[in-house]
């Protein structure tokens, strides 16, 4: 639908859509990046300002290298049969941003991922597209699995860390090994991938350079690299914990925070850039990294401007949660964010962390959660999803009517 053509109107819409995308990324950067380092700050492992600085850098790197898959899903995976025009992208982004702003202003839980996904479906349907039911099914299954998996992982992690017969010099390094192993396998846009694969990982890269045999569908080289990285992570944190448990745990908190911040950037940027995918890649013919750079810039600005204030508040909360349960909440956050990135499924980082915090709490005996509050939260998640589809639909119709498209 290149109705507007390549006149002034087209370029005006490109500028407007880009600015709205930038603003959305800014909002995401300011509001969703504080959890990763909050526990580290709470444990006095890093200062607030340094953490805010690091969060901005790491989230931006994550956005640049890992943002592509979710961005593609949001931009072209949710609706079949039509391409999202710049006007539609603007309508979708404005709808999603309005929902997020409503959440911030009103104090109701409005997850960005739900608002964006809903808005883009609404806009796509309004354009005359057909629903991509298979994608919805995948997304729905993933979202439904997040609470039990995140909560379960957190419960497991907290239990390992709490057990007296597993000393911290073993438990913490084991978690470091797990995280390291996953890091070796995360898909990064900057690593050249062999033809056929979409994105390369560190393990895949090494395995591709050094020719190794494949056994039972598993590339031995990749497996070896994974084990090496995991082993190195284990050894590094083990040394630190042996010198001083406190020191080792703090080091782990900072490293864990770093990879979580990285994943957070990679999983959030697509919510802002996704709607612009068709415009940038098809209509303007730009490479994917150009669009991600726009989103990453917004995330960086938002994180640097907004994070210090939020960090002060959240770090106090995590300090009360304690180191063990903080780790227990962050490990599943990292694992699930990377799974979502690998599968290209938009997620809200906060939703994962909430389940993680509850799971970690259960390991300590009782979770002490309020059924009413969980009910309200889940209700608002669902309401966000449903109403954003409707609002996105109406907003695009209104835009199109107003501009005579």
């Amino acid at each position: 639908m290149t109705v507007v053509g390549s006149g002034v109107g087209f370029w005006a819409l490109v500028v407007v859509a880009t600015l709205v995308g930038l603003f959305t990324a800014w909002t995401l950067g300011a509001n969703s990046n504080s959890p990763p380092f909050a526990p580290a700050i709470g444990a006095n492992a890093i200062s607030t300002m340094r953490a805010a600085f690091l969060i901005g850098i790491l989230a931006t790197l994550g956005a640049l290298t890992q943002g592509g898959s979710i961005s593609e899903t949001v931009g072209s995976g949710l609706i079949d049969g039509v391409a999202i025009t710049s006007l539609a992208a603007t309508a979708g982004l404005l709808t999603a941003t309005a929902f997020m702003a409503f959440g911030v202003y009103s104090g109701y839980p409005v997850p960005a991922a739900f608002a964006t996904t809903g808005a883009m479906i609404g806009v796509g349907l309004s354009l005359g597209g057909t629903p991509a039911v298979d994608t919805y099914r995948q997304i729905a299954v993933f979202w439904a699995l997040v609470p039990p998996v995140s909560g379960g992982l957190a419960y497991l992690t907290a239990t390992i860390l709490r057990r007296d017969d597993i000393p911290e010099t073993v438990g913490v390094p084991l978690l470091a090994a797990l995280v390291g192993g996953i890091v070796a396998n995360v898909r990064l846009g900057v690593i050249p991938a062999p033809s056929g694969a979409d994105q390369g990982s560190i393990a895949g890269l090494v395995a591709g350079v050094v020719r190794t045999p494949t056994v039972a569908g598993v590339d031995l080289g990749a497996a070896l690299v994974t084990l090496l990285v995991a082993g190195a992570s284990f050894q590094f944190i083990r040394r630190r914990t042996q010198e001083s448990v406190d020191q080792g745990v703090r080091t782990f908190l900072v490293l864990l925070g770093s990879v979580v911040a990285f994943s957070s950037g990679g999983s959030q940027v697509g919510l802002a850039t996704g709607p612009l995918e068709n415009l940038y890649r098809v209509e303007l013919g730009l490479p994917g990294i150009a669009l991600l750079a726009v989103g990453a810039t917004g995330i960086l600005g938002g994180a640097w401007m907004g994070a210090p204030r939020l960090l002060q508040a959240t770090s106090r909360e995590y300090a009360q949660l304690g180191v063990r349960r903080s780790i227990a909440a962050l490990v599943p956050g990292f694992v699930i964010a990377q799974a979502a990135i690998a599968l290209g499924i938009p997620i809200s980082f906060n939703n994962i962390i909430i389940s993680g915090v509850i799971g970690g709490g259960l390991a300590g005996g009782s979770a002490g959660v309020s059924r009413r509050k969980i009910g309200v939260t889940v209700t608002f998640w669902l309401l966000t999803l449903v109403t954003s589809v409707a609002v996105g639909f109406v907003v695009y119709r209104a835009f199109a009517a107003a501009l005579g498209v």
Binding site: G107, A313, S370
Partner: protein, 294 residues
């Protein structure tokens, strides 16, 4: 609003351990000749994006409230009043205080104010602004950190606004505890004239007579000046506490607190208490805001 008026305790909201005592003392002064009960509350805010928001209030109070509990428990009981203490869990500080107001129907609410706001869109600070706008009870905003050592004289500038009654109540209560006097000041600008300014003094005297605290010496003065702010600031130098009516109320934030009080607090180092009457709260815009904000 019922005609008998609220009969709940004097509510005092505290957050900073350094200022608890100052605010509790003022609340105690107000309660001593009224409900004889002070309710000290502090709010644990779990905002919308906090993962801790799904915990039960009881869990949050017990495990995730930090120093809040110690904060209210350590506050000393003012002489002659009973004290209740509560930790309120809410999504924001302002909302927590407002819900405490709804629940206890307080005679008055006392809150502190740092004297500076970091947000350019706020008059006194985002939280205090919302309380001025929305708290449906008499409200006293005391500037914290500049407490007078002993009080000999309380300055009460009057200009006939709707808040003179509540302002007189706190001025008289503070003066009564300290055996101090209340100094009523009316500024006669050329536009207003001396007669009208003297008329405001009568209103002030009546308001002080009607306030519940025991009789205190009252002085009055009309000062002729071109600029009200400058006259009040100059007069403040001779007194220990300055009580100002909030003078204006409107649906728009900029008009929450009149320009004179705002400028006066910026130019005096005395203890300043802003007084705002319960009756000015409401209106359709306020209610709309109440529906939208949690």
């Amino acid at each position: 609003m019922d005609t008998t008026g609220p009969d709940g305790p004097v509510l005092v909201a505290v957050a900073d351990p350094d200022h608890v005592q100052q605010l509790v003392r003022t609340a105690g002064d107000l309660a001593r000749y009224g409900p004889e009960t002070v309710r000290i509350v502090t709010v644990v805010a779990k905002p919308h994006d906090s993962p801790f928001r799904v915990f039960a209030d009881e869990t949050i109070r017990r495990e995730y409230a930090g120093e809040s509990r110690a904060l209210v428990e350590r506050a000393r009981t003012p002489e002659g009043v009973a004290v209740e203490r509560e930790v309120v869990v809410s999504s924001s500080v302002a909302k927590g205080i407002l819900s405490a107001v709804d629940e206890t129907d307080p005679t008055a609410l006392v809150v502190g104010w740092q004297g500076r706001t970091r947000r350019s869109d706020a008059v006194l600070g985002t939280t205090v602004d919302r309380l001025v706008e929305r708290a449906a009870c008499d409200l006293y905003v005391e500037r914290v950190g500049r407490e007078a050592d002993g009080v000999d004289s309380v300055l009460l500038p009057v200009a006939g606004g709707p808040h003179v009654g509540v302002a007189a109540a706190v001025a008289k209560a503070v003066a009564a505890r300290n055996d101090a006097r209340v100094h009523l000041l009316s500024v006669a600008t050329p536009a207003l004239g001396v007669d009208a300014a003297a008329g405001f003094l009568d209103g002030g005297r009546q308001a002080i007579a009607a306030a519940p605290a025991p009789e205190t010496p009252v002085e009055t003065a009309v000062r002729e000046a071109d600029d009200v702010t400058a006259a009040v600031v100059a007069a403040a130098a001779d007194h220990d506490v300055v009580v100002l009516g909030a003078t204006r109320q409107g649906p728009l934030r900029r008009r929450l607190v009149g320009s004179v009080p705002r400028r006066v607090v910026g130019r005096t180092d005395r203890t300043v208490v802003l007084a705002r009457d319960a009756d000015v709260v409401g209106g359709p815009l306020g209610r709309l805001g109440g529906l939208l904000r949690r």
